[in-house]
Every structure is written in structure tokens, then in C-alpha cells.
Subunit: 380 residues, 2 copies
Amino acid sequence: MNSATSIVRTGVIGLGNMGMSHARQLRQGLVPRAELTAVCNTGAKPLLEFPGVAQFTASAELIRSGEIDAVVIATPHFSHVPIAIDALENGLHVLLEKPVGVHKNDCLQLIAAHHGRSGQVFAAMFNQRTDPFYQEIRRLVRGGELGEVRRVNWIITNWFRTDAYYASSPWRATWRGEGGGVLLNQCPHNLDLLQWIFGMPESLHAFCRFGRYHDIEVEDDVTAYLEFPNGASGVFITTTGEAPGTNRLEITAERGKLVYQNDQLVFTRNEVETSRYCRTASDGFGAPTTTDVVIPVAGHGSQHLGILRNFTAAILDGATLLAPAAEGIHSVELANAMLHSTLTGHTIRLPLDGDAYHRQLDQLIARSQAGKQNRPADSD
Amino acid sequence: MNSATSIVRTGVIGLGNMGMSHARQLRQGLVPRAELTAVCNTGAKPLLEFPGVAQFTASAELIRSGEIDAVVIATPHFSHVPIAIDALENGLHVLLEKPVGVHKNDCLQLIAAHHGRSGQVFAAMFNQRTDPFYQEIRRLVRGGELGEVRRVNWIITNWFRTDAYYASSPWRATWRGEGGGVLLNQCPHNLDLLQWIFGMPESLHAFCRFGRYHDIEVEDDVTAYLEFPNGASGVFITTTGEAPGTNRLEITAERGKLVYQNDQLVFTRNEVETSRYCRTASDGFGAPTTTDVVIPVAGHGSQHLGILRNFTAAILDGATLLAPAAEGIHSVELANAMLHSTLTGHTIRLPLDGDAYHRQLDQLIARSQAGKQNRPADSD
């Protein structure tokens, strides 16, 4: 960085939907002490939008240009790991879009590349971690206010996408181009929040359906059953095929039930822990007395901008990262395990056998639709 | 029946929680044109509560007593089928508590026993079919107003029971005494409504947990994934271990989403069918415009009394039965299939192989807890 002014010279690689949005936020000065100094865009025509910003068409050139201290990577999934490793090995701070990799082994490589480089900030774009609702749910769960969690039920089906979306780029929704469907493209956020709030399950059994709602080869509909180390069970449901969708997270725990839906968080609190009531009540049909508490939360936080700001503050001030990239392996492992369970028909115990899944993915890629080629395109 | 006054002389077999409640409702004159004329109670001491009502200690005697035209059977599960068959073969009208049998083969016997006896009314106590909420949901689903159903998600976890409940009778929550847990005792209502509203799934995969919340050998926690013949998917979750529980049914369909929760029924209606919008929209991220409609429904209907009245009206006036006993096989088959899936680890295609499940249940009964004996007790 420019130490005289303490400005982080930031580049963006990949100017699709997300990368362009990040570049614009940087350009507009919305991230204090960060400056957009270079972009990399594989598109044929130069961008007129960012005068004075160095433009490259190959990530390797941007990374070695000397124009940047930090880079935001928002390229198609398969290039996340090689580009991030290249950037790390060239001394840059890195902020990587989700998913951090397409499969678990890829993520392990990524984590290894950061080893011994603790001076380089390495973050992931898990912008939903900035959402006060999820922050509050996490606080209630991990702070013990809910007591031991017994069940998690998340219906997160508000990722509707039309056929036009899938037709917009040939790499979309192909094994070869994206390495998966809703689990790899839309859902990494929710899978990340799931493990961020509750920790990793110890096993799962999933029912993915491939091209259920769209003419695509990857999954666009998922129902997964989870079991956690403490015995808690869970269900996770997602799809890009339903409208209107739902975002409803219900958590049942010893001290009551927490429900997040319709942008409201309600805690129905038990006066006595459920298991204690169960053991001690003389009435067979009673239940603990409850109180409803609406938890005051407003808005959805700073999202992508919040992650960009946190990334910059981590570089300049040593601020704690909201979303270290190394934690991105968990959502990838969950996505991989859900696909692996569906394709094998088995319950998958975690940690996932990364080699077994890698072999399976390679087979899917080998059989990937002929008409859809893997293009290291410029959008995410 | 007494043809002069057109009164149905009704007996009740089994005076546990439910049977006693039915007997009292009959005794109090709450069922027009039905009279409680006999009860059968295996308890040692005679009941003082029903003066003038004939009392028996064996169902076979009551059935052959000449004191009744119709009988309500509310005994423990395993005796439902033999007692109902005995009553049918002796010319009585029969109203049978749920589950109508413990396993599918049992139910087939029951249905066969009613064959050629169309003059005898044979009903099941599916009292929740009288609930205006479920009636309205069924009307919206089957009347086509929702369009084709894509997903069903039912969290029905408000069946909390304490340890005292399970300790109240030695036959409770044993394979030998009840033939199952929450699926056979509490959930037959919900499984019946599920098939009554949506029809039977064509396959299911279930994750039952045995004695998760209570010191019992049968399942007290169930998560099941369902697939229906039209491709719709579903999740059904139930337990007797959570408080506060939830009753939330979400139905996603082509014309929108119907949600029943907190005693409110809300239809979020799509202006255009989802699949049509998906195919024709030029925007990748759009979704059909919606309107929220709160469907006006109040109260939960006449419940058990409604079924008793409908049973009596079917006998005297030929009224259409709300819940023919033959339809009770479906909820039993669903419960059996969920247990069979869990115990085999396989997805079960329906119709279920009744012989295979019968063999499995026999093994469970053979290994049933020594301390718990099968007693043809008097309560349900």
C-alpha cells in the first residue's frame, strides 16, 4: 500500500455482475482509504467507465503490475483458486468472491497457499455476515441464550432465477462452467451462515434434483437433512425454481424457539428448559410456559460494502476479518457433500472425503453438456 | 337401530382418554339421534359414571349383546383391527379410532372385512378433517386455485409429551404395545391430512430417531422427504420432544404460495404462473408480481363431535362420510414406510411392500423391551 497516505490500491479481477458492482463502489469512494487503481476484464472492448484506472485483460498481468496492494477476485468459480493463489504468491491482499473454490480439495490448496503469509489479508465475500439479523441469531445461539439447539429448519427458496438468467452465459449452470448449480452459485451465503451460526454438521443426506425447473444439467432444487455433533437435526431447503420464495429459519432449543421470517425475529422463550420440564412435569400433556419476545433488529446491514470496508480496515488497521477466506471451505464442503450424497444415494459423514468428491466432479465435468463450454468468462 | 325413534344405540369399547371423551359426549346428548347404551371397559372396577348403560368387560360380549347398533372403538392400537372385524361381522356400524391398524397388512384385512357390507357404515376418527383450515387448504389445492403443487413443507412439532405421559401405561411407546411412536399415536391425523389434501407420495426417505427425547424404544422424532407423482417434493417433520412446537404448512404451487401458521392462512398469489414467467421473462432476476390474500377462516370446527355426528347421520340418513375407515390405510402406510425407510436406510417407493414391513415389525416386537408388556389396556 501507499504508506504515506495509507491508501489501499485495489484491483478488481472479473467485471461481471458482482465484480462491476465492487469496482463501482470502490470508484465512488464508498470504501474509505481504498482506491480502485486497476481492473482486469477479459472482454474484448476496453471499459470507458473507469478513466485513469489501469486496465488488463489477463489476471497474471494485473497481479504483477505493481499498481495494486490488494485484489478483489470476482471471476467464474473454477478460476477463483488459481487466481487467488497467484495473487497471494505475489504478495497481495486478497478478497475472494464466493464460493472460494468449487470443491474441497481446491479449498485446501487455497488455504495452504496462505500458510506463512499472515501479513497478507485473505478474506471472502460473505456479505450476509454483515446482516444484523444473522448476527443477532448467531449471538443468541452461540451466546447460550437459547440453550442447546435441538433442531434447525431453514427454508431458503427465494433465489428464483428465470430461464433468461441461465441463458445469459454459456458457462452458467454447467458442471464444466460452474461446478454445480444453486449450491455453488446462490447458496454459498446460506451454507456459510449455517456453519457460522451452528457449526458444521457431522453428517448429512441430501436430495438434489438436477434441472428440475430449468433446462440445465446441475441442481436447481435441494432438500438436505443434517445431523450435528450434539444430536441436533436440521433441514435445509433451497431452489432457484420457486416464486414467491421463502426465507424462514426456525431454531428449536432448550430455552425456546427462535423464528426469523418476513424480516422479523421472534423468540418464544420457555420459562423452564424443555428437557427439565419433560423429566419433572407430572402432567403428560403440559408444556413449559412461554413468553414471546420480538427481537429488535432493523435493516440488512452494509453487505458487500461492509466486507470491502472490513477488508480495507484489516489491511490498514489489523481489524478482525468478518469472513476469513479459510472459513469458505465449510460452505464448499457442505455443497459438495450434498451433491455427493445425492449422487451416491448415501448419507455422508463429515469431514467429506475430498478425493472421492473430486473424482465424482471430474466425471460430471467429463460428461458435461457438449454445447456448453468452460469459458473463463468475465462475470460471476 | 331403533327404527321407531331413529336413534342409533351406540357402544364405546375402550374407556381411556379418547374413549371416555367420546362416551361422555354421547351421554351428554351432544350427538343428536345417538344414545350411549353400552360401554366396554377392561378395568377392574365398574364405572359409576354411566348409570343405566350396559357395562361389559369383553368386547366380544358387548358386540353380541344386542344392546347396540353401532360401536366406537378406542382401544390400544393392536386391538383395533380384530375388534373392528368382529363388530363388522356381527352387523354393527363401526367408528374406529386412529390409527385404523398398526401396519398395512392389518388394514388390508380390515378393508376386506367390510367388503360386501356397504349397508354398514365404517368410519375412522380423523377429527381434524372437520377443521375449516384444512378443509379450505384442501379446497384450494384440489380445486386448482393454487395451480400445480411444487413443494409441501409441514413442520408439525406441537405434539409435545412429557416423560409422565410415557410412564402412564406400560404399553405406551413400545413396539409390542403400540407398534410405533409419534407416527402411530400422535401423527396419524397429520399423515391422513397430508394424503387427504395432496394424495399419496410415490416415494419417501425418512430419518426417524428412536427415543431421542424420551426413554422409549420407538420413534419420537421424524424428518421425512417425500416425492409425489407429479414431481412435487415435500418435507414432513414431527416430534413429541419439542416445546414450544410448531404447526406450519407451506405449499408452493404454480399460482403462488399458501402458508398456514399461527392460525392464519395466507395466499401469496402470483399474477402469472411461475413456470410461464420463468420461460418468458427477459430479466434473469425478476419474479411474478404477487398479491397477499388472507383467507378468512375461523376456529377449528367440530372435531371429534363432528365425526360422531357425521357417523350417526351416515347411518340414519346416508350422509357422506367425512372419513371412511378404508382411507385410514394411507396414514398407516405412510407411517410404516417412514419407519421402514429409517430401518433399512433406503428410499421407499409406494405402495409399500406390506409383507416386508410386517416381518420387520415382528422382529421389533420380538426384541421389544422386556419390562414393557403388551396389555390390551383400556386407554388410547
